[in-house]
Amino acid sequence: MAKAKRVFTYVFLSAAAIVSIFPFLWMIVSATNRSIDVTQGKLLPGPYLFENLTKAFDTIDIVPALLNSAKISITTTLLAMLISSLAGYGFEIFRSRAKDVVFSILLLSMMIPFAALMVPLYRMFGGISQTMPFIGIDTMSSVILPTVVTAFLIFFFRQSTKMFPKDMLEAGRIDGLSELGVFFRIYVPTMKTTYAAAAIITFMSSWNNYLWPLVVLQSPEKRTIPLLISNLGSSYSPDYGVIMTVILIATLPTALVFFLMQKHFVAGMTGSVK
């Protein structure tokens, strides 16, 4: 019985893995072919990877874009982790009627499509540019600020906190820790997997963010990777081999971040809970 379950598990997971990876593999294959091969649907790898790479680095400013994306994503993730977890924790641990009402109102902010917020946000930053140009339009801060705190993350941290053993916190208070001390010394280390998940999600959404950076960034040297890729695909005769190569390079950091963080999902971390 256990064996059957085991076999089924491996077969199912393998099928899921293949379905999930296949497009990614196709992307890698395409990066080794020429544009005309890609449009004709070639499935086998070719010898053009080096050529595509050189073309990519020569004609497009990949490195600055990668750096821009990295700076923005890392800063956003760090700030988001801090501010959102403090809030999620606060809403759950220090529950009160008033706070619950505030929380429900905050959730509303998730419910409006970004396209509707874009124009007013842009106008707001335009106004900011008059008095504080260093965080106004066409600055990295203007990209980061609206995306740091989301009700989504606060919601996630709050829900995760619900499963947290509250008596651990009491123990901390009895030991003489301040509330912040309890948060940093007891809560954060225990919630490693939650932070790992949140970090991955935030980094990824920041890295792939398209509409807002598109609209608020003007100088080409400030461009992020998604903007770069969009440009590549837009000419009347795009070079698909190069495009796939650049996309590959652009996807690597998020894959890397995930790979680094995912070891925190190791089964049986019962040790730290005790």
């Binding site: 760090l78 801090l82 335009g126 600055t139 040297e221 400030k222 005769s237």
Partner: protein, 436 residues
């Protein structure tokens, strides 16, 4: 406690570091909108799409201008066309001019929308160049309220690219495709499909460009002369265009594609034998080097039953506009001196880019008379330039894309059996309620 302060400080530090970096950059960033004072070194920013066509054009224009005007710095920024439309709309509607360019390329179908939605945001170019030097049909879309706002740029003049080898196999020649009607075009297509198994053309159900081509050839459009009222129900040209489209689909000579790259691939792979489209498609055809000598370009067919229809029409095409931000006079001067009057520049555009402008005097130049080996020695530029002069002038008006989306839905209904008069009547009703 210490950890939190440390984390917060790290965060703030990064934010200010980003800010500091940007300060160094803000200098140049700001100047995007301001061109400085009078004769001092000034800066012009240009937004356009497509590195191989429009951007290259601007680079050539910049070179031509730099010779005489050392103290003007021209920054050409490339963005995808849809991105430009988004950024422009957001920027123009926000009331902030920071970050807006001086010169921007806008597709002719959209131009009126911009000019009318954001009055006061465009700088009139009236008088800075001779409008009579440009093809007639470009002047309507680029002007508003009696003022000329756009400098006409590329010609979207259409022709039919056709595989001569498939044609011959079907028993036809290039001569048989000169000055024909759409019905005749379809007949030839059926023969080609029968004898070679190749589809005659490739269409995207989400893009009714071919309808636009057909109706403009008859001097009609989705909108009436005023550019605001939908003209669908009583539009004879549109009705015939719909019927022709259905005939093509019913004759089973159409290969469906849903994506630009598939469109190009269908021709590069030899799966389809002809394509009625704009001359900007040439580089996509010539990309398949193994097909050299097997293509020719013939004139556009005309609508069978429409007396106004001619063998010329337009698909796409854009023009350059100057925004009403600091630096507008410099920008206008730049455009006028290069694309507004420089015949040599236009020759370069043809030889180095394959871009055919709408500047009439340029057609006298050498490059316009060159023969193309790929197209069997045909003087394609000369042909395109000649057809450009015949394109009927229509007012694209404000709502082309909105109406087309309505027509796309109705076309599906029509292909599924709904009666044509009902189709157009329903479309008219929807358009009237949606367009305010």
């Amino acid at each position: 406690m210490k950890k939190m302060i440390a984390a917060l400080l790290a965060g703030m530090l990064m934010l200010t570091a980003c800010g500091a970096n940007d300060n160094a950059g803000t200098g140049t960033g700001n100047a995007g909108g301001n061109a400085g004072n009078g004769g001092a070194a000034s800066k012009i920013t240009v937004w356009a799409w497509d590195p191989n066509f429009n951007i290259k054009t601007m680079n050539l224009a910049k070179e031509a201008y730099a010779a005489e005007n050392q103290n003007v710095q021209i920054d050409i920024i490339e963005n995808a066309q849809n991105d430009i439309v988004q950024k422009l709309n957001t920027g123009l509607s926000s009331g902030t001019t920071k970050g807006l360019p001086n010169i921007v390329l806008i597709e002719d179908y959209r131009a009126q929308s911009f000019l009318q939605a954001y009055p006061d945001m465009f700088h009139p170019l009236t008088g800075s160049f001779k409008t009579e030097d440009f093809a007639d049909y470009k002047l309507g879309p680029t002007s508003f309220n009696g003022e000329q706002y756009g400098l006409p740029f590329d010609s979207g003049v259409t022709g039919v690219y056709v595989r001569t080898d498939y044609l011959e196999q079907a028993g036809y020649s290039v001569e048989d495709m000169q000055d024909i009607t759409w019905d005749q075009y379809i007949e030839i297509g059926k023969a080609v499909k029968e004898k070679t198994g190749k589809d005659w053309l490739s269409l995207d159900p989400n893009d009714l460009g071919i309808l636009r081509v057909m109706i403009q050839s008859a001097g009609a459009w989705y909108l009436k002369e005023d550019g605001k009222t939908a003209d669908l129900a009583g539009n004879a040209a549109l009705k015939e265009a719909f019927e022709t489209y259905k005939k093509m689909m019913d004759a089973n000579i159409v290969k469906i594609h849903s994506d630009w790259s598939q469109f190009v691939a269908n021709y590069n792979s030899g799966a389809a034998a002809s394509v009625p489209t704009g001359n900007w498609f040439t580089p996509s055809i010539t990309a398949a080097a193994d097909q050299a000598g097997k293509w020719a370009i013939v004139p556009l067919p005309k609508l069978t039953n429409n007396p106004n229809s001619v063998h010329a029409s337009n698909l796409g095409g854009s023009s350059w506009y100057v925004l009403n931000v600091d630096g507008k006079e410099e920008a206008a001067k730049f455009l006028a001196a290069t694309l507004g009057s420089n015949v040599d520049l236009y020759q370069k555009l043809v030889t180095e880019i394959g871009a055919i402008g709408t500047y009439k005097p340029a057609a006298e130049g050498e490059a316009y008379k060159a023969a193309s080996e790929f197209f069997g020695g045909q003087e394609i530029v000369q042909d395109f330039a000649r057809w450009t002069a015949e394109i009927p002038n229509v007012n694209y008006g404000m709502h082309t894309y909105a109406i087309e989306d309505i027509l796309i839905v109705e076309m599906q209904n029509y292909l599924n059996g709904k009666a044509i008069d009902q189709v157009l009547a329903d479309a008219q009703k929807q358009a009237d309620s949606q367009i305010k």
